[in-house]
């Protein structure tokens, strides 16, 4: 691959052996990267591949554990975002830090030198936004703007500092296709001015469309460098997800039982401007099956989980059935009473109250379905602390939860141990249906494999399991069948052993219809 050699001109920004440890975990290890002047450079990788960690080091938010950063050939230390700006680096974040109650002009003015007057900043912002095709009204209030317009503010704000390199972190993950097209025009214009762009994405089509070079990360290491225009989505996907785990396959268990959870033609409009609407979701999971739902973050996973768990009910009672009973309009406890269990994505504040003890957290989730064993005194609902405590203890032993003290607060446990407890809390009831969102997100490898084993065992014992995950390795370890969620649509499910990683990667990247043809070209 000759294209993988560095650029002929001296690079604007180089990274040599950059490494970042969080504890023992290497989020980035030994990363080399060169960004040439006037190029759009893609940084590709799955969630958790280390992309965000890398750019946070470039922008002075995280301190590298090792390696060096060179700006125009000179080794530099970037201690803060303002130092990064002084080296000519601007950044547009995935989550914006705007003041909603202020106008566009005021937001921009706040981040600029005080010597500019407010009207002048508004004029300058209007001029820049016009020049780069980013229409913005400086007088509009941010609260009234769409996500795409908010992103434009961030871009204009970055451009006002006249940077040589602009870093965009997943810029299209929150945009409509039309807004994304506009953004691409802007980026190409920046390129013609000789500015460089570091473009972080996992959407293969757009990387192929606008990027000159790509560096691919996987598990914190560079696994490929290429000219994305000369690659197929399939070959990019292979670099991204790695071919080394493709051999993982599971025989589907022969005797499948009844359908235990079923969703029929369910559409749910978006509740907030940031949410995704679910469109015509169909799924069926039988006893003994593990359905894994793959997908890039923000494509409707959270929304799907919420309607499955009953955190948000839907008007069509028939659209969701658990063990044959229509449950669309009933809440989470009623669904738990039917033998379902749910593990949401966020551990703190959603799945568990951090300040409360483990036993109290257990009681919160199960006081209704396990009323008889945990409460006494009829309507008085007196808590039987001893039985709650012993149940918490049993869960900790079953799931090997490591904790300090008998009944510590949930917040004192490490992420992995708390997640084991939360999953264990649901498993302890032997649920007929278990729905889990991102079961091992941010969990160490040991705890992750314990949790995955528990999910597989639960399905073997005759339950239906739904796992929503972004981790493809995990999906192949636990799933008997796989669907992909993209922009609120759920694909039909495929038997896990019939799918290749790159097929899933392509579907996740938002290429719905061309999945099979594109992937077969790659073989």
């Amino acid at each position: 691959m000759t294209v993988s050699e560095g650029p002929a001109v001296s690079p604007l920004l180089s990274v040599r052996g950059l490494t970042k440890y969080f504890g023992n975990f290497a989020a980035c290890s030994g990363i080399d990267l060169d960004i040439a002047p006037g190029e759009i450079h893609a940084l590709l990788g799955e969630n958790g591949a280390g992309k965000s960690t890398l750019v946070k080091m470039l922008f002075g938010i995280l301190e590298p554990s090792g390696g060096e950063i060179l700006s125009s050939g000179q080794a530099v230390v970037i201690r803060s975002p303002s130092e990064a700006r002084s080296f000519g680096i601007g950044m547009v974040f995935q989550h914006f830090s705007l003041f909603e109650a202020l106008t566009v002009g005021e937001n921009i003015a706040l981040s600029l030198d005080p010597k500019f007057s407010l009207p002048r900043i508004s004029d300058e912002a209007a001029r820049l936004s016009h020049k780069y095709g980013l229409p913005l009204d400086p007088k509009a209030h941010v609260a009234d703007l769409s996500v795409g317009e908010r992103q434009r503010i961030e871009i204009v704000r970055a451009l006002l500092q006249n940077p040589k390199l602009i870093i965009l972190d997943e810029p299209t993950s929150v945009l409509t296709p039309q807004e994304a097209d506009r953004l691409f025009e802007t980026l190409l214009k920046l390129k013609t001015e000789g500015r460089s762009v570091l473009y972080i994405s996992h959407r293969l089509e757009e990387v192929r469309r606008i990027c000159d070079r790509a560096t691919v990360l996987r598990h914190g290491k560079v696994t490929g460098r290429c000219d994305p225009r000369q690659e197929t989505p399939a070959s990019l996907a292979r670099m991204m997800v790695g071919a080394d785990v493709a051999g993982v396959s599971r025989g589907t268990s022969s005797e499948l039982g009844d359908v235990l959870i079923e969703v029929t033609d369910l559409s749910v409009p978006a509740r907030t401007p940031f949410a995704v609407s679910l469109r015509a979701i169909d799924m069926q999971v039988r006893a003994g099956e593990v359905l894994a739902i793959a997908g890039v973050a923000g494509n409707g996973q959270g929304e799907l989980f919420d309607v499955l768990s009953g955190e948000y009910t839907v008007p069509e009672n028939d659209a969701i059935r658990i063990r044959g009973k229509a449950v669309g309009t009933v809440g989470i406890n009623a669904r738990r009473m039917l033998g379902a269990g749910f593990v949401p994505e966020e551990r703190h504040g959603h799945a568990a109250v951090s300040e409360m003890s483990l036993s109290d957290n257990l009681l919160l989730a199960r006081s209704q379905p396990d009323r008889r064993s945990f409460l006494s005194g009829g309507v008085l609902s007196i808590v039987r602390h001893s039985s709650v405590r012993s149940a918490a203890k049993r869960i900790c032993e079953d799931m090997d939860v490591r904790k300090s003290g008998d009944d510590p607060s949930a917040g004192s446990l490490s992420g992995g141990n708390l997640q084991k407890f939360i999953v264990g809390r649901e498993l302890d009831r032997q649920p007929a249906v278990l729905v889990v969102n991102q079961p091992t997100w941010g969990v160490d490898a040991g705890a992750a494999s314990r949790i995955r084993q528990a999910l597989v065992d639960l399905a073997r014992s005759g339950s239906a399991v739904v796992v929503i995950s972004q981790d493809l390795d995990e999906i192949f370890e636990v799933a008997t069948k796989v669907s992909v969620i993209s922009e609120g649509r759920l694909s039909p499910s495929f038997a896990a052993h019939e799918l290749s990683l790159e097929q899933i990667g392509l579907m996740m990247g938002g290429i719905h219809d061309s999945t099979h043809s594109e992937a077969s070209h790659a073989h």
């Binding site: 303002s82 705007l98 909603e100 109650a101 005021e106 003015a109 706040l110 407010l118």
Partner: protein, 304 residues
């Protein structure tokens, strides 16, 4: 007759407008100080005492302002430096102020006070009706109008005002931009205290030039409600203050005429009117959302 009624409306509205403007600035910076009543009564008693001692009501005005600001500094220290709960601290400040002012003012009860004299503005004061109403007034009335205009300009035209609104909207982002959140909030809290003190001075030097225990009579609470009713906008505070003043004076005259409505109901009318207007105003979700300081009442501890 009309002129006399309108004059009393202005006198009744002025302390509400001033106290509410001060609280508006405090709340725009994201701090909820429920101690307005306490700061106001402290301003009233100290202004009265200083006037009695020196014989000069203008020194009384300055003393009232200083007393309100100093009292608010206590609130600022507790909530900003020690990060105490703002609601509880504000309530405590009011209770403390009511008690402390009674103690300070004990010897002044029943003493005749010295009224702050009107300042006549040449020529303008001779305009029929408007002249005596607007241009033959005391210093505190002129200050209240200057404050409305000044604070409006400060909040929406000046850079410091912009920073203050940014802090009130999102203190974490403001801190990240390098704005000193705690210092700005201290200044905003003290400005609020100074305004409450000035409003108190108006009560004991203009409205009823004497000291009566608990003479603020809930005006601090009305001022707090006015800030919300005005969606944190200074010009609306002016309008709201005068609405409340007009209704309370109007019902007094209605009682004097002896119309067939129970007096208890009439006394409740200003409050009821304020609540009704509050509900109508907060109906406009967008205005409320744009103007409500999103970090109001939330404690801020800078990351290190």
């Amino acid at each position: 007759m009309l002129e006399a009624i309108l004059l009393t409306v202005i006198t009744a509205a002025t302390p509400l407008v001033i106290a509410a403007l001060g609280e508006l600035v405090t709340e725009r910076s994201g701090v909820l100080n429920l101690g307005v009543e306490g700061m106001m009564i402290m301003g009233a008693v100290v202004a009265f005492a200083a006037t009695q001692i020196t014989g000069t009501p203008y020194i009384g005005v300055l003393a009232g302002i200083a007393a309100g600001a100093a009292f608010s500094l206590l609130f600022g220290f507790l909530t900003l430096t020690l990060v105490a709960n703002q609601v509880a601290t504000g309530l405590a400040l009011t209770i403390l102020g009511l008690g402390l002012s009674g103690q300070i003012g004990e010897s002044y009860v029943g003493q005749p006070g010295i009224k702050l004299q009107p300042i006549e503005i040449p020529l303008l004061a001779d305009i029929p009706l408007l002249g005596p109403l607007l241009f033959r007034q005391d210093l505190i009335f002129y200050l209240s109008i200057a404050l409305v205009i000044g604070i409006h300009w400060f909040l929406f035209r000046s850079r410091t005002g912009l920073k203050m609104r940014a802090i009130g909207d999102n203190h974490a982002s403001a801190h990240a931009l390098g704005i000193n959140v705690i210092r700005t909030r201290y200044l905003a809290v003290m400005f609020g205290g100074a305004c409450a003190g000035l409003a108190g001075a108006q009560l004991s030097l203009v409205y009823t030039p004497q000291w009566v225990e608990n003479m603020a009579a809930g005006r601090g609470w009305i001022a707090l409600a006015l800030v919300v009713f005005a969606s944190w906008r200074p010009l609306r505070v002016l309008a709201g203050g005068y609405l409340f003043g007009a209704v309370s004076i109007g019902q007094l005259h209605a009682q004097a005429f002896g119309i067939g409505i129970p007096s208890q109901f009439l006394s409740a009318l200003p409050y009821a009117a304020t609540i009704v207007v509050l509900i109508i105003i907060s109906h406009n979700r967008r205005t409320t959302m744009i103007n409500t300081p999103a970090s109001l009442g939330k404690p801020f501890v800078p990351e290190r």
